[in-house]
């Protein structure tokens, strides 16, 4: 039901759903971009940590993923 895509006009990633849209923050966009139905949460955190070596992001990623599941944006 939710579709994730880059929106040029909004300059951000968005989630589209029936008659609505959620604009995502850059970090939320980076996380959801990696949610491909294949990678594990651990692998997503590892990938992000490699790309952003100076950030301690594991807790934030977990928190966001929990929120995303609650909204029905993703299933785990």
């Amino acid at each position: 039901m939710f579709r994730f895509q880059w929106e040029e006009a909004q300059d951000c990633y968005v989630l589209l759903y029936p008659e609505g849209m959620v604009k995502l923050s850059p970090s939320a966009g980076e996380i959801l971009k990696r949610c491909d139905g294949e990678k594990s949460v651990a692998a997503i955190i590892t990938g992000l940590s490699e790309q952003y070596p100076n950030a301690d992001l594991a807790d934030d990623v977990l928190k966001f993923i929990e929120e995303a599941v609650n909204h029905g944006w993703i299933n785990i």
Binding site: M1, R3, Q5, A9, L16, P18, E19, M21
Partner: protein
């Protein structure tokens, strides 16, 4: 858009009214009364062009509506083009003109969401209100939509004739495993305005319906989302109609007229631009019609100095026009409007009328009735011209 100095937002919501032809004849239809005028429909290429231009300006949500959009044989092509362009497409339909294979074809073409309307929860009333035998088919189509992996979104327009059955309606939607249910109170424009005496619910009916809606919302939490909106004639603050004129909504009527809302064609003294003559960028940013009530400068008192103007944008322009004669007035739903008491008196009068049980027949929405109403309007206009000449 690059170079534009307009303060206009983006037309995020594009409503494509593909046709005003419809196999149903609902007397509360939100289409204009003069549907018979709209015979020259845009062709497939026109729609592709509109989709491309609006998408380039940031449109993301596409409503495919009507009339009955299923009557367009190029609907699958339009859906596929919308998907290719990155729209989230929503088909708003009665279900009549669809079968299981066509739902599969929509899925294949990339349609995102289907909303099916019901007129009532029982076959007899449903078929009476729609003016055709559609109940069994709608039920089958609701199941088909779900089977093909779509969320099931059902829409039921509420009014005096079905509002007392709100529990039966909700039980029906539960039995169909709906995910979302929109209980949309009739809004009184177009056909429903003609039938307002027969359609407006009474206050007692509303109290009962609201209680039932709340109860089901609570009971079904997490399973089915129930959206219920009180009819605004009973409120004392107006709705933020269209989220503001020319703010996010763009409607294209079947003949290519571009409108800031699907009911706007009835407003006087505005020339609505046509996508056959202009591109969407000019229409949205520069056309006089889209700028007529944009922002706050057009407002009269009490809106002009009202601290709530950014919340409701003065309400609905069509309602202001229909009920006060001037689209620049505050929507008379607002308790601050000097016309508010007149609306309340009308609601009271209609409530008393309903209590007498005496009812005029409903005017059903069809091309024949449209032509008759257009002729009557033309005759009335001539008569008032004659009157004006005599009094000079």
């Amino acid at each position: 858009m690059a170079g534009s100095i307009s303060s206009a937002g983006k037309p995020l919501w594009l409503l494509a009214e593909l046709t005003y032809r419809c196999p149903l004849q609902c007397p509360y239809c939100s289409n204009p009364v003069d549907i018979a005028r709209y015979r020259e429909e845009l062709d497939t290429e026109d729609w592709f062009r509109v989709l491309r231009q609006a998408r380039a300006m940031g449109a993301t949500q596409l409503g495919l509506s009507g009339g009955e959009p299923l009557l367009r044989r190029d609907l699958e092509d339009i859906i596929a083009e919308a998907r290719r362009l990155g729209y989230y497409s929503n088909l708003i339909t009665s279900g009549v003109g669809m079968d299981d294979d066509r739902v599969a074809a929509f899925r294949e073409a990339g349609l995102d969401h289907i909303q099916i309307s019901f007129q009532a929860s029982n076959e007899e009333l449903n078929n009476y209100l729609g003016g055709s035998k559609t109940f069994a088919h709608k039920t089958a189509m609701a199941r088909s939509v779900k089977k093909h992996g779509y969320p099931m979104v059902l829409n039921i327009v509420l009014h005096r004739h079905n509002i007392d059955q709100i529990r039966d309606i909700l039980d029906m939607t539960v039995a169909l495993n709906a995910d979302y249910v929109e209980l949309a109170s009739t809004q009184y424009y177009g056909w429903s305005r003609i039938n307002v005496e027969q359609l407006l619910p009474t206050r007692e009916q509303l109290v009962g319906a609201e209680a039932a809606a709340r109860e089901y919302q609570e009971k079904l939490k997490g399973r089915m989302k129930v959206i219920y909106v009180v009819p605004d004639y009973f409120e004392n603050r107006p709705k933020a109609c269209m989220n503001g004129w020319g703010a996010i909504f763009l409607t294209i009527a079947p003949d290519g007229s571009a409108l800031p809302c699907h009911a706007a064609a009835q407003l006087p003294d505005l020339v609505f631009p046509n996508v056959r003559d202009h591109d969407v960028d000019w229409i949205w940013n520069d056309s006089p019609a889209f700028n007529a009530f944009r922002g706050f400068d057009w407002m009269k008192e009490p809106c002009r100095s009202c601290p709530e103007q950014e919340k409701d944008f003065g309400g609905c322009r069509c309602q202001a026009y229909l009920l006060t004669g001037d689209p620049r007035n505050a929507d008379p739903v607002c308790g601050k409007s000097p016309y508010h008491h007149r609306l309340q008196e009308e609601v009271e009068r209609l409530g008393q009328l309903a209590a007498t049980g005496v009812e005029k027949p409903l005017v059903f929405r069809n091309m024949k009735a449209s032509k008759r109403l257009m002729e009557e309007e033309a005759v009335a206009a001539l008569a008032s011209e004659e009157q004006a000449v005599r009094s000079e």
